[in-house]
């Protein structure tokens, strides 16, 4: 059991290894942005270590840097992270053991670790989730630290096309999920809702609304 779960951890880390470079690059960008927003070096590192959710952190720090209020920054970040509510419910059955151990592993859930752990039909591999989540966590926090101390090791990650790495991963993981009519309808709804709401709704809302695409699961099979 122990040996096999160690192997799953390694498989999980391997599954997101190409993304770890991109996450490191965006971590550096986040550290730099936070520093230029006047947050110093410690606050951004603590934020990456506790929040561990890129889009929410970028949103909160951009708002602060632009002179926005604390309330606006917190609200934007929380809105962006609401999706981790339903995501947490989806992985819950696969995280067993004592409550503190479930709590710790829940912190390693980010879009990317969740996506590579998804085996389809609602099944998740907790070993893959943890292995992938740990590598992404280390990359994100290390990148933030490098950026917060003023390093520019990678330059702008966009120059290297690293922003395209994320949708490419999600597309790779989406296609095998499309096994039947229900999953295809859910995907089309999710994509269409997100696209339609992006220009009109606050950041975070389109993604939450898109996850409502899964409510067609309530319809008769």
């Amino acid at each position: 059991m122990g040996g096999s779960s160690a192997r799953r951890y390694r498989d999980g880390a391997r599954a997101v290894a190409p993304l770890a470079v991109a996450v490191l690059g965006f971590g550096i960008s986040f550290g730099l942005l936070a520093r230029s927003a006047g947050m110093g070096w410690l606050a951004p590192i603590v934020m990456s270590a506790t929040t561990f959710a890129g889009s929410a952190q970028f949103a909160a720090v951009s708002i602060l840097g632009a002179g926005g209020t604390v309330a606006a920054a917190v609200a934007a970040a929380v809105l962006l992270n609401i999706r981790y509510g339903p995501i947490g419910v989806s992985v819950a059955p696969w995280l067993d053991g004592p409550a503190w151990w479930r709590f710790l592993r829940a912190q390693l859930v980010v879009d990317e670790s969740w996506a590579v752990a998804a085996e389809g039909e609602g099944r998740f591999d907790p070993g893959i989730l943890v292995g992938a989540g740990l590598l992404l966590y280390v990359s994100w926090v290390a990148g933030t630290a490098i950026g917060a101390f003023g390093g520019q090791a990678l330059g702008d990650p966009k120059t290297l096309g690293l922003d395209a790495a994320f949708p490419a991963l999600f597309l790779s993981l989406l296609l095998p999920q499309l096994r039947n009519r229900r999953t295809i309808v859910a995907a089309v709804l999710g994509g269409a809702i997100a696209l339609a709401l992006t220009p009109v709704a606050a950041a975070g809302v389109p993604i939450i609304a898109a996850s409502a695409g899964c409510l067609i699961g309530l319809a008769r099979k």
């Binding site: 599954a15 190409p18 110093g40 606050a43 951004p44 603590v46 934020m47 506790t50 929040t51 929410a56 604390v70 920054a73 917190v74 970040a77 339903p86 947490g88 419910v89 989806s90 819950a92 059955p93 067993d96 409550a99 479930r102 592993r105 829940a106 912190q107 998804a118 039909e121 609602g122 290297l160 096309g161 395209a164 790495a165 994320f166 949708p167 490419a168 991963l169 999600f170 790779s172 993981l173 989406l174 999920q177 859910a186 995907a187 089309v188 709804l189 999710g190 994509g191 997100a194 992006t198 220009p199 950041a203 389109p206 993604i207 996850s211 695409g213 899964c214 067609i216 309530l218 099979k221």
Partner: protein, 102 residues
């Protein structure tokens, strides 16, 4: 306490709470069957939303750019049954190349 630290603590606490909710309260047991039908469609719905927003959106505007070339290259790599590592590298490389020319 500075504004930055208040934001760090508030966002951190809220995110830890949101992430923990499902696994701590419902962990280790099968979900009620009514919920399972919905949850098994969460992955396709959310993955599709992440694909379109991260490939097409910049902030609140839909602004197609070099990422589209990267996604097209990723699509071809997927169609040729390339491993995910290759798909990701191809997408980043095609996007970077496009940006260097445009």
């Amino acid at each position: 306490m500075t504004d930055a630290w208040i934001v760090v603590l508030a966002v951190g606490t809220a995110t830890v709470a949101i992430k923990s909710l499902g696994p701590v309260l419902l962990g280790g047991r099968p979900l009620p069957s009514a919920v399972t039908g919905v949850v098994e469609l969460l992955a396709p719905a959310l993955l599709a939303a992440l694909v379109v927003t991260q490939a097409l959106a910049s902030g609140q505007s839909i602004s197609p750019d070099a990422r589209l070339v990267g996604m097209a290259a990723a699509g071809i790599a997927l169609w040729r049954k390339a491993p995910i590592l290759v798909v990701i590298v191809v997408a980043a490389a095609a996007t970077a190349l496009t940006r260097s020319f445009v």
